[in-house]
């Protein structure tokens, strides 16, 4: 019995210290962002590896998610004779929920895991300590540009995902299933509000980008510097990001779309 409490206490203490380290790490990263700005080259390289390389998976997933929404929505709505509302259904679900959430999950899997592995390996091969020996702050040089790149890329990727998904839904709905093209767009334009729906979706994706980049970079920076430690850190990045994204999404939805 005493052992149980001992273990509980120990795990509480370790998780609190980890949270503390993560917060301190975040503050250091944020303060390092200012020193990224005079060196746009660093940011460019990271925008390439974080944003451009995620571009393909995001657009293709967006297209297929939109097409599936078009198909499923059509079958459900046609039961009520409301196929014309397909546009608003596809657009609302993409802009409010699926766009930010699915993009963030894919982003965590595609870019987040790569970031963790990269930083973890840098630590395992003592590149980070080497930088410190040369009086270069690894947080400012390595972490902050990556953080900023993730933070910038996420809203762009999420907007793209939603836009392509809506076009995919239109391809299936009006091309394949014969929903009226005008009704698809006009119902959508009547119902989707720029501030309530689209801006809130963008805010969501910004928050998800912040959290995912933070988790990925911290797990890499905090990894045990062995090959097993790096592999575990990569797994933790994906799992923790998924949990935080879905949990945060619930809270954000409740706050944003609570009262109409």
């Amino acid at each position: 019995m005493m052992q149980f409490f001992q273990r509980l206490g120990a795990s509480t203490r370790t998780s609190f210290t980890k949270l503390g380290r993560a917060t301190y790490f975040l503050l250091q990263t944020l303060s390092g962002i200012l020193s990224v700005l005079p060196r746009p080259r660093l940011l460019m390289n990271q925008l390439f590896s974080v944003g451009v390389l995620s571009f393909l998976i995001i657009t293709i997933s967006g297209l297929f998610v939109g097409m599936v929404l078009g198909l499923q929505g059509f079958y459900i709505l046609s039961d009520f004779g409301a196929e014309e509302s397909l546009g608003i259904m596809v657009a609302a679900s993409l802009v409010r929920e699926l766009g930010p959430v699915v993009t963030a999950l894919l982003f965590a899997g595609r870019a987040g895991s790569a970031l963790t592995a990269e930083i973890g390996l840098m630590k395992a091969t003592e590149q980070l300590s080497g930088m410190e020996m040369m009086a270069i702050d690894p947080i400012r040089r390595i972490i902050s540009p990556r953080f900023l790149a993730g933070f910038i890329s996420m809203p762009l990727l999420a907007s793209l995902f939603s836009a392509i998904g809506i076009i995919g839904g239109q391809l299936v709905g009006t091309g394949l299933l014969g929903v009226d093209d005008g009704a698809y767009w006009s119902q959508m334009q009547n119902q989707i509000d720029f501030y309530d729906d689209i801006i809130n979706g963008v805010i969501k994706s910004i928050i998800f980008g912040f959290v995912t980049s933070w988790i990925a970079l911290f797990e890499g920076y905090d990894a045990i510097p062995t090959s097993e430690g790096v592999s575990r850190a990569t797994t933790r990045t994906v799992v923790n990001s998924a949990f935080s994204i879905l949990g945060l999404d619930f809270i954000l939805t409740a706050l944003m779309f609570g009262d109409d």
């Binding site: 080259r41 460019m44 390289n45 925008l47 390439f48 590896s49 944003g51 451009v52 571009f55 657009a91 802009v95 890329s153 809203p155 762009l156 990727l157 907007s159 793209l160 995902f161 939603s162 836009a163 392509i164 809506i166 767009w185 959508m188 334009q189 009547n190 119902q191 989707i192 509000d193 720029f194 729906d197 689209i198 963008v202």
Partner: protein, 161 residues
């Protein structure tokens, strides 16, 4: 990771594509384009009941959307619902004796305000009040009246026999 001109180009294309996606959402998907910062003037109308009318519901004349509902209040003195509507300034020739009615688009559709122009020479201006109104049809009320009426007829029919 060496910097190349290609990399810069790809990053540029990526950022441009993302911003284009956002613009697409703003202009093509949302209602931002249809009622941006167009000039509007406000008129009010009192209804016995505004039914399921909501803020941002459409205001249309002859089936064309010319404005939107901006405010719905309950007037504690007259016990009526006061609906404020913003109408685009380019439609400033609506006569003063215009009738405002609340209609439903389709059987289960959204409710909207329909303006039917009258014959007066004077036109509605900013702050004018529309006097002739017709309330929303509340489906439960209509069904209730119908049931009551048919029961009454049946009772009269029974008496005659």
């Amino acid at each position: 990771m060496q910097h190349t001109a290609t990399q810069d180009t790809l990053v540029g294309l990526f950022v441009a594509a993302g911003i284009a996606g956002l613009f697409f959402l703003a202009l093509q998907v949302s209602n931002l384009s249809s009622f941006g910062d167009k000039d509007t003037y406000t008129v009010t109308a009192s209804f016995e009941s505004s039914g399921g009318l909501k803020i941002k519901s459409a205001v249309s004349a002859a089936g064309v959307k010319i404005g939107k509902v901006t405010d719905i209040r309950f007037d504690p003195k007259t016990y009526q619902s006061v609906v404020s509507m913003a109408i685009e300034t380019k439609y400033n020739t609506l006569p003063e004796d215009t009738t405002a009615s609340i209609f439903t688009a389709g059987l289960l559709g959204e409710q909207y305000v329909n303006l039917e122009p009258g014959g007066s020479e004077d036109v509605l201006k900013n702050g004018s009040k529309i006097d002739i109104t017709q309330s929303a049809i509340i489906l439960e009320k209509v069904i209730g009246q119908f049931l009551f009426k048919s029961a009454e007829e049946k009772a009269q029919g029974d008496k005659k026999e």
